[in-house]
Amino acid sequence: MKFRMLALVFGLMGPQVAAADLAVEIRDSGGQPVPNAVVSFAPKFTLTQPVPASASAEMRQEGTMFSPFVLPVQVGTTVSFPNFDEFRHQVYSFSKPKRFELRLYGQDESKTIHFENSGVVALGCNIHDNMLAYIYVSEHPIVAKTGEDGKVLVQSLEPGEYDIHIWHPDLASGADPILKSVSVSADGRTVSGQINLRSIRSIQQPPAEDDYN
């Protein structure tokens, strides 16, 4: 199995005393930006002000696709699964953190699932094989996901030491790569690291043109 190399580039930006905005950029070895990478921060100190947990998140089904492809949430988040298609979906997961099955709900119908365990939950639709999405349930207080440009800006980080966990759908099996004891301070600096990805990319295919219309 071949591995793609991902280069993680951390740029800590912004001179703030109390908090810092952290820009994270992930590129592969070819210099291409890597989207849908989840970056989570495990502070090695007690946060002075707890990060407000986002109580809810949404995994839409729209155009026979999940949206977003990767949804990072914190433990204890309830995710709703609204259906915007005019036909039914049957969303399921056999992933260990959360096994569930949302049977055949219709348009504009929304179901919610509460994720109490951390881990990666792979989502599929029993009706539409092409549909694929991941819910990354993180036990860390700060979670972010790179955009199409492979960048994410984490705002208002308390300076201090963090373990930074990186996850991506194409990660080879095994534990998530962790950048240990990264010190986030007010002065900007760059940290780099490397993780292995599978050669075959896990991506959600759009539905075949005439398949379901």
Binding site: M1, Y92, F94, D129, I200
Partner: protein, 775 residues
């Protein structure tokens, strides 16, 4: 023989050509069939290989769809997702049964086995599922690969189970077993065989399964491993064509392949009836060809055989023209030429026969023809008479007539005899004719008529020629039983007839037998000349003028032990006729010269006179012979005298004159002996170089009694003297005769009154005592 050979040749040539052509055809046929079958087989094997690939692809696709279906089955995925192993295994079994898959395997996403089924039963034998196969499955949804497990080959189809991310690998396998092979075989138009082979890296191919004879194939592979894609080899004692189809040649070194093969014998089998038909056609054509060529050859050889038999007939003397059925071809030409040849040969033989049986000069029937006539007469008649007629005077006539005249005369004679005797005449010798008279009674009359007819002279080239004829008659049967005898006896009768008064004589057997006795006498004479039986007696010749004996005549005396005294008249004429006279002359000359030389040596000067015969006078070598003898014995020529008779000279006067002139020139004295019994013509004697004539004793013996003889002797002596010749009288037997002869002027006398012929010793004695002894 020739016909047979020719026929054989023709047949063999046809046969060889036919066989060559047939050989080329058969070879071309065999090559074409073999190449064709090989090509077909090769194509079929290739086609079957494609069919095989297609079948495998089809099975893979079907299996792939089923595997995909299973992998997407929600319940199955749920069971997997929830680690419900019993459910997973039972679902796997269920699906495997439904798909008739021989193998089913499921592993987790990392390749750790979850469950494996072989022939519906759980097993621990796991096929090797390589990472690249997994990648291929992930990329294409389904991936297939042949794998070998426990000596069996499976087509394995792999897919990932997604929930929705890959959570496990599931694979189904169908075995490439005998049934599979037979399925493929069933789709091939030819009865090919298929074997599935596998081998681990560095090892030999093993047989996984085969349509038939898997064990034999296994043994075969032990000795011949396939290396090429297509090859030929002997398998199960038959030539096979093989196609080796490599199915898997993995990175791990394991190889799986299919071996398709087909027996060439089987491939060629459909052509067997064709081959049998061709061989039958060949054999039949061969027989037809032989028969045909024999017929054709016979068409050519039959006329040839006819010609050959005609040629044999010609050899036997039968000239029959050859018939032929051919028209306008070579045989007809040949036959026509042959017939022309036959008529030409016939014509020529006629000429040759005519020439053989006729005298070329006169065209008369010849001696050969006469032999034939006699033989015919012997065969046809009970009795007949053979007549030999001899024309007289021919030697004399030759001196005055030319050749053509003689021939005309001969022809005239023959015509006259034919006319008179009313029969066919043949010329049996130069002077003699022969004819046959059927009526023996009539023979003498006819003979007389012939004799009389010669009274009339012949007119040849305006010359009137008198010719006479002498006849000899022989009777059949009696005087001879065959032609040769009759002719010989006819000659004998003619001999007798020559001396007969009427010139005709019948054959006399007694006379003939004495003739024979005389012939045997000649051989005795030759002996006698050598062994001393023959001697000379010498009769003195008295010279009347001198009263002395100056010469002697040597007279031959033969005392034969068996015959006693043989008179010279009995053997000298015979010796002249047989030619033996030559021996007598040789002996006589030598004896006489030796004797004369001997006497002269002893002071006795006597000339010796020797008698010469007609033959001697014809012998041109005689003078040289005498000269040699004289020199040998150193004797002067005057001591040898030679005496010749008139008739001897007259036989061929010209030649005799040559010899006599030569002898005279040598100084020899020549005498005419027996003067008065022959022509007695002084006119010709004067031409001869003789010095003496000897009056025959028949005139002298009765001189005392006969006046007539007295006149004759006296006139002869006078005539001789007138011609300058010495005259000797022989046969003087009394004193009275001597007196008369002396009176008549005779020069020399000889006779019993003086002395009988004496042997040399007695003669010498006589001369000593006699008053006539030489001075």
């Amino acid at each position: 023989m020739l016909a047979f050979r020719f026929r054989t040749k023709l047949t063999v040539v046809y046969l060889a050509l036919f066989l060559a052509v047939m050989g080329i055809i058969l070879l071309a046929f065999y090559r074409s069939v073999t190449t064709n079958v090989e090509d077909q087989t090769r194509d079929q094997l290739a086609a079957s290989a494609r069919v095989f690939e297609r079948i495998v692809n089809y099975r893979v696709r079907t299996l792939g769809e089923s595997v995909t279906a299973l992998a997407q089955d929600y319940g199955f995925r749920e069971a997997l997702g929830t680690d419900d192993k019993p459910t997973v295994i039972s679902a796997l079994q269920n699906q495997a049964r439904r798909l008739e898959a021989d193998m089913a395997v499921i592993t987790d996403i990392d390749g750790n086995p979850i469950a494996a089924l072989l022939d519906g039963e759980a097993t621990t034998a796991m096929p090797m599922i390589s990472d690249d196969l997994k990648q291929m499955a992930e990329r294409n949804g389904v991936a297939s690969r042949m794998v070998s497990v426990d000596g069996r080959i499976f087509e394995l189809v792999l897919t990932a189970v997604r929930a929705p991310v890959p959570i496990a690998w599931v694979a189904f396998g169908v075995e490439l077993d005998k049934a599979t092979a037979q399925d493929i075989k069933g789709l091939s138009p030819i009865e090919l065989e298929i074997g599935f082979l596998y081998r681990a890296e560095g090892q030999q191919y093993q047989v996984a399964s085969a349509t038939s004879h898997a064990d034999a194939l296994s043994d075969f592979l032990k000795t011949s491993q396939p290396t090429d894609e297509a090859f030929r080899a002997t398998f199960m004692n038959q030539e096979h064509m093989f196609r080796h189809l490599s199915l898997v040649s993995g990175d791990d070194g394991n190889e799986i392949s299919a071996l398709l093969y087909y027996s060439m014998d089987t491939a060629l089998a459909p052509y067997d009836p064709l081959v049998i038909t061709m061989v039958t056609v060949l054999v039949l054509s061969l027989l037809l060809l032989i028969a045909g060529s024999v017929v054709v050859a016979r068409g050519v050889t039959k006329p040839l055989t006819n010609l050959a038999s005609a040629a044999r007939q010609i050899a036997e003397g039968r000239y029959e023209e050859v018939e032929t059925e051919s028209r306008g071809d070579e045989v007809a030409d040949l036959t026509s030429s042959f017939n022309q040849m036959i008529s030409a040969v016939k014509e020529r033989e006629k000429q040759i026969t005519f020439q053989a049986y006729h005298d070329p000069e006169t065209g008369l029937r010849n001696r050969l023809m006469f032999d034939k006539m006699i033989q015919q007469e012997i065969d046809q008649s009970d009795s007949f008479v053979l007549v030999i007629a001899e024309v007289q005077q021919l030697p004399e006539l030759r001196t005055v007539l030319n050749h053509q005249n003689i021939n005309d005369l001969i022809k005239g004679v023959a015509r006259r005899i034919e006319k008179v005797a009313d029969t066919e005449v043949a010329r049996v010798s130069t002077e003699a004719f022969g004819f046959l008279v059927r009526d023996a009674e009539d023979a003498e009359t006819r003979a007389s008529l012939v004799l009389n007819s010669f009274m009339t002279p012949f007119d040849v080239a305006d010359i009137v020629i008198d010719a006479s004829v002498k006849l000899g008659l022989v009777k059949f049967p009696g005087d001879g039983e065959d032609g040769a005898t009759l002719l010989r006896h006819g000659q004998a009768a003619l001999d007798k007839g020559r001396g007969a008064p009427r010139g005709v004589a019948w054959y006399d057997p007694d006379r003939d037998s004495s003739q024979k006795a005389r012939l045997s006498m000649m051989s005795e004479l030759r002996g006698g000349l050598k062994n001393g039986e023959v001697k000379f007696a010498y009769q003195p010749k008295l010279d009347l003028e001198s009263g002395k004996i100056t010469a002697v005549e040597a007279l031959i005396r033969w005392i034969s032990p068996s015959r006693g005294f043989v008179p010279p008249d009995d053997f000298i004429p015979m010796a002249e006729r047989t030619g033996d006279i030559r021996h007598v002359t040789d002996w006589a000359l030598r004896q006489a010269i030796m004797q004369a030389a001997d006497w002269r040596a002893r002071g006795l000067n006597l000339a010796v006179a020797v008698n010469l015969s007609t033959n001697d006078l014809m012998n041109q070598n005689l003078p040289a012979q005498i000269l040699a003898l004289l020199r040998e014995h150193d004797l002067p020529a005057e001591f040898l005298k030679l005496e010749v008779t008139e008739s001897a000279v007259m036989h061929d006067m010209a030649r005799a004159l040559d010899v006599l002139n030569m002898l005279s020139a040598m100084g020899l004295a020549l005498s005419i002996d027996d003067y008065g019994t022959g022509y007695s013509s002084l006119s010709y004697i004067k031409k001869l170089p003789v010095g003496e004539i000897k009056i025959d004793k028949s005139f002298v013996l009765n001189l005392a009694k006969s006046d007539e003889d007295n006149i004759l002797v006296r006139s002869t002596i006078e005539l001789g003297h007138n011609l300058g010749l010495s005259v000797t009288a022989e046969g003087v037997e009394d004193e009275d005769s001597i007196g008369r002869l002396r009176e008549y002027g005779c020069d020399v006398v000889q006779g019993y009154h003086i002395a009988r012929p004496l042997p040399p010793a007695e003669l010498e004695e006589f001369l000593k005592e006699s008053e006539y002894g030489p001075a």
